[in-house]
Amino acid sequence: MSSLRYRTIKDKIFFYCVCGLSSLTVIPLFAIIWELIRKGYKQINWSFFTETAPSTLDAMLARGTGDIIPGGIANGILGTLLMVAIASVIAIPVGIMVGIHLSEHPKTKFSNATRFITDLIQGSPSIVIGIIAYAWVVKPLGGYSAFAGSVSLAIMMIPLIVRSTEETLKMLPGSLKEAGLALGSSYTNVILRVLLPSAFGGLFTGILLAVSRVMGETAPLMLTALGSTAINWNVMEPTSAVPLLIWEFYNDPNLIDMIWSSSLFLLILVLSLNLIAKHIAKKWKIQ
């Protein structure tokens, strides 16, 4: 056996290594945010939110004179909001219903199978879900569309919402449900008027996290929504989204300056949704 002194020193060294490596791990987040702010803040102005993406030629001329690139990402912002909204309309009711069923019947074979399938869908890569939405919506309807993008995002959101709904409902005390039933209200009323409102904080957190998760998705949208240079309100037409625009700017040397502002915007949107969700989760935590 080694001496006590030796072991204490070894313990100290290990402790400092753990602390050091842990703090190193924090660096990438700040490095990424710093890089985006440093390179992107110049581009963010009023027209960034109100105009569509500039053509390559305009961007080249602006670059030639040393100006910032004119135009903005209004088409992408609108597309992202549109597609996420439609996806939420599809995914939230289905996800919450499945979550209710799983928490009401936790141990039946049917529930286990559903839980297993939800996990399977949650684990499948986003690009594969893009292929699915392509096969289900783009091919039969004969063209890329915002709706196809929404379907792919909805498939990704459902398992996340199912999970958070089930977890939240499981934490509610059983007496809550029993009290409602004892007062003579129907099963439906107890769930819709008692359980769901009490679980609202948890459900809302889950929904926000799911939204923030799919908002930054690029891969499935490449196969479904394709992208468009104009502002588009028609859900059956190809539509752009902020991540899709970043991908386009990345592939066009003249527009390369736009990627930083667009990424900064996307990152702020996603991270603030994330932080709001976690804040609500902390506030509504059931004791």
């Binding site: 313990d11 890569p125 990345y250 990152l267």
Partner: protein, 283 residues
């Protein structure tokens, strides 16, 4: 009456989810049939030839399977020296303290960053470092993408394994302390062996994440269709070849890409199932 309809509705939604999954598998299989019929299943996954030339079209998935496995496993190895300390930091050394919550919420935010932003950061900040080090003249390749992938999966590996580490019963640890163990001794002989299978499972889940990552890898791996010969070589993963070529594909090529999607779906499903199985068995 209303209750009956409501209950039917709940079951109906569950059935809908089951149907979605069945439909996913059906669409992938039916879409890839023509590629498998043309080349044969085993030849398709065993051949590294990817030649879209119209006269002599041949497609094989081997280079992409190798690319995917290589980048993901490398990412897993690179992420261990960082995610394990974080897990120990939040789950053992500073369990329940403010600093642990702070660190773990920051690491959780890493999981929220969109894949494409990681790709950009890797391309403009990280790739020049690889070039400066002289590892690769272009800076693209397996190594570059697996390092970025490693950063992306750290939150998945560390948050779950931190939870498993914090669940190790206090009595066991106290018993070891009372025998005169230092904190390192306790971690080595009590905490890690006890939480071991859970930690293992969380790393497998993180591996599942890495396998399906698309955008960051597409931007960093170099997109060449040959079998990677070394760690600094360029290549393509299953996800990145789909992202790159799906748009202009039709006929046999489209079918081959869908077949690669089916394989990717299968691999990630198996990996996730293994992780779930381990967690269930040892919990």
């Amino acid at each position: 009456m209303r209750d009956k309809i409501f209950k039917k509705l709940l079951v109906g939604c569950c059935i809908l989810v089951l149907l979605v999954c069945a439909g996913m598998i059906y669409s992938l299989v039916s879409g890839s049939l023509s590629a498998f019929n043309q080349y044969g299943f085993f030849h398709f996954i065993g051949s590294s030839e990817w030649d879209p030339h119209p006269d002599r079209e041949t497609y094989g998935a081997l280079s992409f399977i190798v690319g995917t496995l290589l980048t993901s496993f490398l990412a897993l190895i690179f992420c261990i020296p960082f995610s394990l300390p974080v897990a120990l930091f939040t789950g053992s050394y500073f369990r329940g303290k403010k600093i642990a919550t702070f660190i773990s919420s920051i690491i959780d935010l890493l999981a929220g960053i969109p894949s494409i932003v990681y790709g950009l950061w890797g391309f403009y900040t990280f790739r020049p470092i690889i070039i400066d080090l002289g590892l690769n003249s272009q800076g693209f390749g397996i190594l570059t993408s697996s390092i970025i992938l490693a950063i992306m999966i750290i939150p998945y590996a560390s948050s779950l394994s931190g939870e498993f580490i914090s669940m190790v019963p206090n009595e066991l640890k106290e018993a070891a302390y009372s025998l005169g163990g230092t904190r390192l001794d306790v971690i080595r002989t009590v905490t890690l062996p006890n939480a071991g299978s859970g930690i293992f499972a969380s790393y497998i889940l993180a591996l599942g994440r890495a396998l399906g990552e698309t955008m960051a890898v597409t931007m960093l791996i170099g997109n060449t269709n040959n079998l990677p010969r070394s760690l600094v070589d360029t290549g393509n993963t299953m996800a990145s070849i789909i992202a790159n070529q799906f748009g202009e594909a039709d006929g046999l090529k489209l079918s081959s890409l869908i077949a690669i999607g089916l394989l990717l779906f299968g691999i990630t499903a198996v990996i996730n199932l293994i992780a779930k199985f381990i967690m269930k068995k040892f919990n």
